[in-house]
């Protein structure tokens, strides 16, 4: 992370929380080739995923696209906004699908097909989201530091506080 801004620090914190979820999701699908019983640690992981993934991604992306990216666009930074928005479009459906599949498994368990579908979705989500965060940590946070004046940064941080609320994980 390369940032000295309030907004960058808030987004970085979001990234840390999302990565923690992705990390445990990655470990969950890596541990089980066959459908696991939905109990104990597996149940806890699925509950955490279902409760937090949707909000983490929707709120984070919503803040960036509705509040941060317009500031970038006003300053002529079209390319990074286009690229990250396209990635959001690829990641968001995966995050929602993973959360939906986790909820379904909590209700009815995994059969072979459901587990395979969950693994495929989770694996793609982990890869896309981690790659996305790598780019945001290196490029976006540095660009925030370079582009935003302190007043805009403070206003964005205040907006973040209004529109992003952390669900209980």
């Amino acid at each position: 992370m390369m940032t000295q801004t309030q907004t960058g620090a808030l987004l970085h914190q979001d990234h840390l929380q999302t990565i923690a979820i992705l990390q445990s999701l990655d470990e969950l699908v890596g541990r089980h080739r066959n459908p696991p019983a939905v109990e104990g640690d597996v149940r806890n992981e699925l509950q955490r995923l279902a409760a937090t993934m949707r909000a983490e991604v929707e709120q984070h992306f919503g803040f960036e696209e509705n509040h941060l990216f317009p500031e970038f666009m006003r300053r002529g930074e079209v390319g990074i906004v286009t690229m990250l928005t396209h990635e959001h479009r690829a990641i968001l459906p995966l995050a929602l699908e993973a959360a939906d599949r986790a909820e379904a498994a909590l209700a009815g368990g995994f059969d072979a097909a459901a587990w395979q579908a969950f693994r495929d979705t989770a694996s793609e989500l982990v890869e896309r989201e981690i790659f996305h965060i790598q780019k945001e940590e290196m490029g976006l946070l540095a660009a925030i530091s370079a582009l935003l004046d302190p007043a805009t940064d403070a206003a964005l941080a205040e907006t973040y506080g209004r529109v992003v609320t952390k669900p209980a994980g």
């Binding site: 923690a20 709120q59 002529g76 690229m83 928005t85 396209h86």
Partner: protein
């Protein structure tokens, strides 16, 4: 090469793909050429102590053709992103390639055959290409506040670039003129400034950005970057002065500073690894980690050489460990990660669903390259130590096969990129919707 680029704003940081990929593609081709020439000249490697011929040509195909070529392509894309500063005009980046690429080829032909026109022309072109590229990097770095972990080593690398280019031209001129009092000593200084000063400092600086990004760890503190760069600078000055004056103890003093810098860098990266959020290490680390481990071995070999351990064995071993064992291993590791990384970024920037890294990367050629490259380093180093052309030949053959596998990876990457672009274009989507603010 990559149609449908995104609409570029004045300060966009993603370069046209044709700029970095012309450098990377050239590096892949010259990587093959370097091992092929080394294979052909295997009998001359044990005991090599400088002078025109195919061994010198192979060495420069790696240093200029692979290492510097990759460094410029990566720096042009990485520095503006890491510093949020504009790089400079695209034409200047292209000009750098147009000077460097033919320059390296001509220089290698001249070195290999003794054709002085090619040698001198190639040297001038290559030096000019490096200076143009270095000027672009300097322009980006000028006025960047903070970020010493990357800016200090990069400034040091640029200073080393001027010295190595000047000494390189001097050495080429001396092949015809024969006026330098001790050509070998100047060549040794040229080698250590090029290896540890230019490429080493760049690798040091870039790894403080790239490694934390890839493992999602905390950045290397700027204070560490400053101290490392200072140690490397001190080590270079001492070792260069010692090599020129023939004072072994001074070279050893410089080497000690270099070892201290390497240790400080290793400790800083170990902390990054320890606190990383991404627990699973990606496959390219199997090259990065052993590559960095060879650095202190190469410094120790250089120190032993300065202290008068038999030259016939240690001179080529020092050069081989520094260039092939350390730098080539690290650079091919970085290259195999940033080529698909950048390709995927361009698929996102161009519109449509971004390509998955795993979908762009052919794993088998990279597995083959890693194994064959490691085998090549061990066999050639053993061949040099044992004075065995056969071992060197076997090692160079393994290196050539590894380079072919790496080229297969690059070709497959381009094919998969094009296929993804075509499928994205054919399923061209409607304008992007915006994610609404959502509260749970």
């Amino acid at each position: 090469m990559f149609p449908g680029a995104f609409p570029a704003g004045a300060q966009d940081r993603l370069l046209p793909a044709s700029i970095p990929y012309r450098f990377f593609g050239t590096a892949v081709v010259l990587h093959l050429a370097a091992w092929a020439v080394l294979l052909a000249a295997a009998g001359e490697v044990p005991g090599f102590a400088g002078g025109l011929g195919p061994v010198l040509a192979a060495l420069h195909l790696v240093t200029l053709g692979v290492l510097a070529m990759t460094a410029l392509g990566a720096a042009f894309q990485l520095l503006p992103v890491a510093t949020s500063r504009a790089l400079g005009p695209d034409w200047a980046c292209r000009l750098s390639w147009w000077l460097l690429a033919p320059g390296v080829v001509a220089l290698a032909i001249g070195m290999g055959t003794g054709w002085m026109t090619a040698l001198e022309g190639g040297a001038v072109l290559a030096a000019a290409g490096l200076v143009v590229g270095g000027s672009l990097m300097a322009r980006t770095l000028a006025g960047v506040p903070g970020l010493a972990a990357i800016t200090r080593p990069t400034w040091l690398a640029l200073a080393a670039l001027l010295v190595l280019a000047g000494l390189g031209l001097l050495l080429v001129w001396d092949f015809a003129a024969g006026l330098l009092p001790d050509h070998v000593r100047v060549a040794a200084v040229h080698g250590l400034v090029a290896g540890y000063g230019f490429m080493g400092s760049l690798a040091l600086g870039f790894s403080t950005v790239l490694v934390p990004m890839f493992v999602l760890g905390q950045p290397v503190p700027d204070a560490i970057g400053r101290r490392c760069a200072a140690l490397v600078a001190a080590g270079l000055v001492l070792a260069a002065a010692g090599a020129l004056a023939g004072l072994g103890w001074l070279v050893v003093l410089g080497g000690t500073a270099g070892l201290a810098a390497a240790a400080m860098h290793a400790i800083a990266l170990a902390k990054v690894f320890k606190g990383r959020m991404r627990k699973r290490l990606e496959p390219f680390f199997r090259l990065l980690l052993p590559g960095w481990a060879v650095l202190p071995v190469s410094i120790l070999a250089g120190m032993a050489l300065a202290l008068g351990v038999p030259v016939a064995r240690l001179a080529p071993l020092w050069g081989f460990l520094m260039v092939f064992g350390w730098l080539l291993t690290v650079v091919t590791g970085i290259l195999q990660r940033i080529m698909p990384f950048l390709a995927s970024m361009h698929t996102a920037a161009a519109g449509g669903k971004p390509a998955l890294l795993s979908g762009l990367t052919a794993r088998r050629p990279l597995d083959l390259h890693a194994g064959l490259h490691g085998l090549a380093i061990v066999l050639v180093a053993a061949g040099i130590l044992a004075g065995s052309p056969l071992l060197v030949r076997l090692g160079a053959a393994a290196g050539l096969a590894g380079a072919a596998a790496f080229a297969a990876f690059a070709i497959e990457l381009a094919r998969r990129y094009r296929a993804h672009r075509l499928s994205s274009l054919s399923s061209s989507s409607s304008p992007l919707a915006t994610t609404k603010d959502v509260r749970p």
